[in-house]
Symmetry: C2
Subunit: 142 residues, 2 copies
């Protein structure tokens, strides 16, 4: 149950927090922008301001409930932090996002960081591609 997670994180259980967490859980496979979430709330007739959405997301990120990604293009997107790390494939045509993990890549990254005298903390890997579901709009693409 989500309110438990909020409390466990040391945050007061408030309606906006619960609602936002719910939306993130319901759209678990999606990667939502702050505006997306705000729009969901409006549709659900919840009277929650956009500023609050940003504030809550930032707090959630701080306590590790949520991950934030900066893909290409202005907005940041947020997803629930399920604990298991993963990278992303993003379809340039339809925007669909797929998650994946590749042990070999993980290992290589670790090795590369070490070879260069770094201690690896994090990484971000995104593949920009075209899924063959898409009606490949313009023949060959970009």
């Amino acid at each position: 149950m989500e309110s438990a997670d909020i409390k466990k994180a040391g945050l007061k259980v408030t309606l906006p927090r619960v609602k936002i967490l719910e939306i993130l859980e319901q759209n678990h496979e999606a990667h939502l922008t702050a505006e997306d979430i705000y729009r969901c709330l409006l549709e659900a007739r919840e009277d929650i301001g956009l500023a609050t959405v940003y504030r809550v997301l930032t707090q959630f990120e701080g306590v590790g409930l949520v991950r934030k990604h900066n893909f290409e293009g202005g907005q940041s997107v947020y997803e629930l932090d399920t604990g298991q790390h993963h990278d992303h494939i993003l379809c340039l045509d339809c925007g669909k996002i797929i998650e994946f993990v590749d042990e070999e890549i993980e290992r290589r990254q670790q090795a590369i960081a070490e070879q260069n005298g770094f201690e690896l903390e994090e990484h971000s890997l995104t593949l920009y591609a075209r899924c063959n579901r898409c009606p490949n709009r313009d023949g060959e693409g970009r």
Copy 2:
């Protein structure tokens, strides 16, 4: 010579374009923000507006002279596009950036995209790490 590159790209050879390209070449190892470049220009007593810097960078990106990256944190950074692709290691402490290429990772990415039914166009991989040059400010870091 840089003005040749500009002409070759089909752009008029203007002072702002030449100057900006020069700055990018001089700081070849750095990854500069639009503001960084603007500041360089000011120091060099060149009367070039920030808007022009953005316009020129965007055009340069369009013709493949420059690559744009969205690392963590607001600003985009730009670097000369030397043709050879590479990824980045970014030091969380001092901001230093190292470039690398790993054939194994490149191969795996290609394979992963295919396995998931995608045609890979591009990718962005950044390792966030701590270089052991840095006086590891706060013991264990974040």
